[in-house]
Symmetry: C2
DNA sequence: AGGGTCATGTAACGCGTTACATGATTAC
DNA sequence: GTAATCATGTAACGCGTTACATGACCCT
């Protein structure tokens, strides 16, 4: 992909799992190229405009595989919403209920989107999955699609659990 | 609290919701004091050693209450573990299962800790809750304790859901 | 001619992490 | 006396966010 492709990529469905602003992409691509993890290939797009398409090198692939294969420490938690919820007793109940309303809407939306994406993956109907499958034995295709779909199933399940938790919280606030 | 108190505070049970390294505490305290949100009070602790105990000013309290009362946009997601899970098809299944084993242990531990903390809150048995309740009408005590306990109930429920999701993932990997 | 998309950058500023650094006081 | 705890800082470096900035190409 080119830097521009990545900018759009992180604004799209991948944005639910990992976000990156445009200003980080280009410097990071150069740093990764210097580290030998990716290699850039300049393409002409008209007489003056060029775009640089990067691909993962063997070294980059090896580093990725070794990172994928071992468990990493969880990042320190930093959850502003939980700080809010822990202090709902400091504000009027009606305000807390409204904050939870917004939270519930957000979680329900996230769950629906994750479920929709899960279904697209099971239908093998996303560009990235097709690209991935094209390099794999057809016998593995179903298993790979189910594995990836399962990730979005988990995201949806967590969002549903959070929404349900928030609804219980509203009941507590109103009692 | 003093800076030192806060360092220990963020290493303790609050560390599940918000973490902050020692190096951030002191600069941030000074910035918040400059902003008028907190006020420091120097105490002598021996002939030479002093500690500065900060308390929240009226302005700081007002800012907190107004922040607590409105919904905020969720932070952009950035979940390295999900990136790992999404690419389990790139590594041997046995490695992926081992990564999930570590994840399950982590989530189970987090859930157990959250449940234990929930129970302490219901028993009104934490220093912070006692401090909070001492400034409130005794009639409200049960409601406040239940509200705070509910937050940790939610943390536990999410951790349990994630662990269950990971176990399903292991079944998928082994099939 | 104009707007939309393609394509790539820079600058400022604060947050977060790891590591280094120092000295006082208390308890045994 | 000496080890643990109390107490407070600094430095280096990269990540993340918002905002600013520029120009080429394509379609109507």
């Amino acid at each position: 992909m080119s830097g521009y492709d990545l900018v759009r990529f992180f604004d799209g469905s991948t944005g639910w799992i990992w976000a990156a602003p445009q200003s980080q992409i280009y410097p990071m691509l150069r740093r990764m190229e210097q580290a030998g993890l990716i290699a850039g290939d300049e393409e002409a797009r008209g007489p003056r405009l060029t775009r640089t398409v990067y691909s993962v090198t063997e070294k980059g692939h090896a580093e990725l595989a070794s990172w994928l294969g071992v468990a990493h420490d969880a990042a320190p938690p930093r959850d502003p919403f939980m700080v809010q919820a822990l202090n709902f007793d400091m504000i009027p109940a009606a305000e807390a209920v409204a904050v939870l309303d917004a939270f519930i809407a957000e979680q329900d939306k996230a769950a629906a989107e994750a479920e929709a994406h899960r279904d697209r993956l099971l239908r093998k109907d996303t560009a990235l999955l097709k690209e991935r499958l094209s390099r794999r034995d057809p016998e593995e295709h179903d298993r790979i699609a189910r594995l990836k779909a399962h990730v979005f199933d988990g995201i949806a399940a967590v969002a549903r659990a959070k929404a349900e938790w928030a609804r219980e919280g509203q009941r507590l606030l109103e009692s």
